[in-house]
């Protein structure tokens, strides 16, 4: 087991990033036009990175599998984006945001990266505003703010319940401007199949053109992956149905270490599963917990309508268990508390797998108009899906797979263990530790894209100015293309009887049952066996109609499911290895008498970074020890 070097600059925490920027290597403007960069993914990290690098003068090629760069799933983030601006004069600061994230992540994130994310948070709001993002404003014209879970200040900026859309469109418009100026070139409807590594450095990618089916080779001086998270491993999740882990797995197979793969956030407030055909779960923003109160009946199996249950027979279980934070406890805590009530028979709704999120008191106190102004679009969305009106009857919610804190391991430069291969946004593992706080995903992704990657990628490229872009006819490209083609041909040659979706559903069931909100050794070991069986079945009984030389959505799905199956094994192995509970990773064997998660700092205060060893071989574990020099490591309490 080797130790990993995160390349954290020396010096006091608050000065590290300034010192890095002051001493990093630069590329002069004249040389930038000789350097090519590939960016894969156009979400809240990818588009800003591509636009910002193009603004500096690099040649940027941008890839996404959607038809347009405006559709990546960051678009669906609802509640907001944090910034430590202290707009409310309520004691916020860079340190406070840093501290909240470290604590919220249950002391499993790297101090230096988190502090830097907090430092650039205000710049992001300035940048987005300048791009024309219509953030909510007070009548006097200043920025409006709201509060999110796990914190005691109001630092969240928002645009109704569509903040992700507005923030993403800001980055998208900046990218479109660079396209018009000829500095960025778009390659939409391209699925990345592999990374090309030449002499130990990332030098390009292999893609499949999703319209013609053609396999393409693209070379560059550096590759930036902004390919998002892999929460769709559960099949049913809050993510878009096409979100996937394939780019991360391609990088992993080429030698990039995978950090903390088992750290997956289960979001507490989602619309519960309604029928067996369901293809995804819809998130109801955490911001609703500002005014909504979560409860279940005090009596087990009480099937009365919510309106018929008097106050004294209601159990506001978050307010009861966590008086200091109440309904605004962090996501992992809220999810587990809801599961605990439902598992013990207090759940509501047809399936008993739901709790109430009630706006009765808020509507009575503030009036329907005010509540509508804050959450109108969310209430409408809930009504469209369920047919019920939240102004009158409480919402029913249940936790669902959401965000992956885990991802490709990166150092302070956001560089993976493959030189020249960077991972930004949700695709990397870095800032959120074992649990992400609300409204900090947009913040981290945009921060990486606008203000961090442009510096660190330049620092890398400074040593590349005399190197030409490799020829796409080089043997490494040819080999990578042949391998990618062989896998696609293999899928098509199976000619079995079961669809890719049916395998994905079964994989999701295995993962949700054994590696979801609660995990134990027995279940995880069982999962490994079940996944291995499923893998065998997949590779012998998959059916895909059509060919590889046309639009073939089933082929696309199969390729993603194949990667999910391998990723599932990695997740379960990581979960087995970490015998403590921390953040979203809850091992039943490691809990306090009160049922709360119990960390074991002596043994597990590290980032688990896994190295690929070959197909069906156990990956090798590397550890990055986490040092906390600027916060006191405590039991995370929201009581």
């Amino acid at each position: 087991m080797s130790k990993l070097d995160a390349k954290i600059p020396e010096g006091p925490l608050a000065e590290k990033w300034a010192k890095y920027k002051a001493t990093q290597k630069l590329v002069s403007p004249n040389n930038r036009k000789k350097l090519d960069i590939i960016v894969v993914g156009t979400g809240i990290a990818g588009s800003p990175a591509a636009a910002s690098l193009a603004e500096m003068g690099y040649n940027v090629k941008v890839f996404c599998f959607q038809d347009s760069a405006r559709r990546a799933h960051s678009v669906a983030a609802q509640g907001g984006i944090n910034a430590s601006r202290n707009n409310k004069n309520d004691g916020d600061s860079v340190y406070r945001l840093f501290y909240d994230m470290i604590k919220g992540g249950d002391y499993r994130a790297r101090e230096a990266n988190v502090y830097r994310a907090a430092q650039v948070s205000s710049n992001i709001i300035d940048q987005l505003t300048a791009q024309g993002v219509p953030f909510a404003r007070e009548y006097g014209g200043t920025l409006a703010n709201r509060t999110f879970g796990g914190v005691q200040v109001s630092r969240t900026n928002y645009a109704q319940g569509q903040t992700g859309q507005q923030v993403l469109l800001g980055g998208y418009s900046a990218l479109k401007r660079q396209v018009s100026l000829g500095k960025a070139t778009m390659f939409p409807r391209q699925q990345m199949l592999d990374i090309v590594v030449i002499d130990g450095k990332a030098r390009g990618i292999i893609t499949r053109n999703l319209i013609t089916g053609e396999i393409e080779r693209h070379a560059a001086h550096a590759v930036v992956l902004a390919t998002g998270g892999y929460g769709t491993i559960y099949y049913l999740s809050t993510l878009a149905v096409q979100s996937n882990g394939s780019a991360a797995m391609a990088a992993f197979r080429k030698g990039a270490f995978f950090g903390n793969p088992s750290f997956i956030q289960i979001h507490p407030t989602c619309i519960p599963v309604l029928n067996e055909y369901q293809s995804k779960l819809t998130l109801m923003s955490e911001s609703l917990r500002n005014d909504g109160r979560i409860w279940v009946p005090k009596a087990e199996g009480d099937k009365r309508k919510a309106s018929e249950i008097p106050d004294e027979e209601r159990d506001y279980f978050l307010e009861r268990r966590y008086p200091a934070f109440g309904n605004l406890v962090p996501r992992d805590v809220a999810s587990r508390a809801a599961k605990e009530r439902c598992d013990n028979g207090f759940g509501v709704g047809k399936t008993g797998l739901a709790v109430f999120l009630d706006f009765r008191d808020a509507v009575a106190k503030q009036g329907k108009k005010v509540i509508k102004g804050k959450y109108g679009n969310l209430f409408d969305m809930y009504e469209k899906i369920t047919g019920e009106v939240p102004y009158e009857t409480p919402m029913m919610i249940y936790p669902a797979g959401h965000y992956t804190m885990g991802g490709l391991w990166v150092d302070y430069n956001l560089q993976t263990t493959i030189p020249g291969l960077f991972a930004i946004g949700e695709a990397n593992f870095s800032e959120h530790g074992a649990n992400r706080l609300g409204a900090s995903a947009l913040m981290q992704g945009a921060g990486d894209g606008y203000f961090i990657a442009p510096y660190t990628v330049s620092n890398y490229l400074a040593d590349e100015i005399s190197n030409k872009v490799p020829s796409t006819d080089s043997p490494e490209f040819v080999e990578a293309e042949n391998e990618a083609k062989a896998v696609l041909d293999k899928f098509l040659s199976i000619k079995g009887t079961q669809t890719a979706t049916s395998f994905h559903k079964r994989l999701g069931q295995i993962m949700w049952t054994h590696s979801g909100m609660q995990r134990n050794e027995e279940g995880l070991k069982k999962a490994l066996v079940e996944i291995a069986d499923l893998k065998k079945e997949f590779w012998s009984d998959l059916i895909i109609p059509g060919t590889a030389n046309e639009i073939n959505q089933e082929l696309e799905k199969a390729s993603r499911v194949a990667d999910f199956i391998d990723l599932a094994t990695l997740i379960v192995n990581d979960a087995l290895n970490r015998k403590e509970s921390c953040g979203a990773h809850f091992r039943e064997e490691s809990r306090t008498e009160g049922g709360e998660a119990m960390r074991i700092d002596d043994e597990y205060s590290f980032v688990a970074a896994w190295e690929y060893q070959g197909a069906d071989k156990e990956p090798k574990l590397h550890k990055e020890d986490l040092k906390f020099e600027n916060v006191e490591v405590k039991v995370r309490s929201y009581k």
Binding site: V75, I125, D126, G132, G141, Q162, A174, P545, I551, Q553
Partner: protein, 249 residues
């Protein structure tokens, strides 16, 4: 419930398409329309038949991928609803449902129900942005924006770029799409500086890409899944007119 489907099938952009008929039993009223199509496709694949190609992703009416023309309406029944929010409870048992792709010269069919909406990206590149590089932005509170203007700009910015406005328009005009972007940025101080150039360039690009003209029928507003109103078209016309009469930049 049992339904009959009449779905547009077309191998690719070069071939001619035609309607294909399907009968589907065991449809649950609580299924979303997209889940019903998945159910159909799973059945077709296991029977060794070609599934229907269609686009969808977020299922939350925000990504703008889904683009089905259902029973003569973009995104089907229901006001301010995207295809992914349509549920089978909106249809009757035994009903025949006709599903087509967007029909517009500027959105050529790629396969079955999938179209190429790249023209919208080109429109955005023609001016749908504020020219500001990362690192140059002033403090976000340096430019105060009144709540009313900010809210109005948000209403325009809510566009998801799905193209229903174009599909609904008898002239296949993209005026509502352009109007939403031009209005959003013209309402905000940071977007005003380039407002003239933006309005002129985006309108010129719209003509160049083969979108038709606006004749104010309001079909776009009626079908927009985000309820974007044609008052923004009035705003675009004003911006365009003022720009046309002012000195060339």
């Amino acid at each position: 419930m049992k339904i009959k489907l009449n779905i547009w099938k077309q191998e690719n952009g070069k071939t001619k398409g035609k309607f294909e008929k399907y009968e589907l039993d065991g449809v649950d009223a609580e299924m979303s329309f997209l889940e019903m199509l998945d159910y159909l496709n799973e059945k077709l694949i296991t029977e060794g038949k070609e599934p229907v190609a269609y686009e969808h992703d977020c299922h939350e009416a925000i990504c703008g991928c889904c683009s089905l023309y259902i029973n003569g309406h973009p995104h089907g029944p229901g006001k301010e609803t995207a295809t992914c929010q349509v549920h089978m409870r909106s249809f009757k048992d035994g009903e025949t449902i006709t599903v087509e792709p967007w029909r517009a010269k500027s959105f050529p069919v790629l396969k079955d129900l999938m179209t190429d909406r790249n023209a919208f990206d080109k429109l955005m590149s023609a001016g749908g942005f504020v020219s500001i590089d990362a690192g140059q932005a002033p403090d976000a509170n340096a430019n105060l924006v009144g709540k009313i203007d900010a809210d109005k700009a948000f209403d325009a910015a809510a566009c998801i770029g799905c193209g229903a406005c174009v599909a609904a328009c008898k002239n296949s005009s993209a005026t509502l799409f352009v109007a939403a972007k031009v209005s959003q940025l013209a309402l905000l101080p940071q977007g005003k500086i380039e407002a003239k150039r933006r309005a002129l360039n985006m309108v010129a690009k719209m003509d160049e890409l083969g979108f038709g003209s606006c004749t104010n029928t309001g079909a776009c507003e009626a079908e927009c899944p985000k309820g974007i109103g044609i008052d923004f078209i009035a705003k675009l016309n004003r911006e365009y007119l003022c720009a046309s009469f002012s000195e060339a930049e």
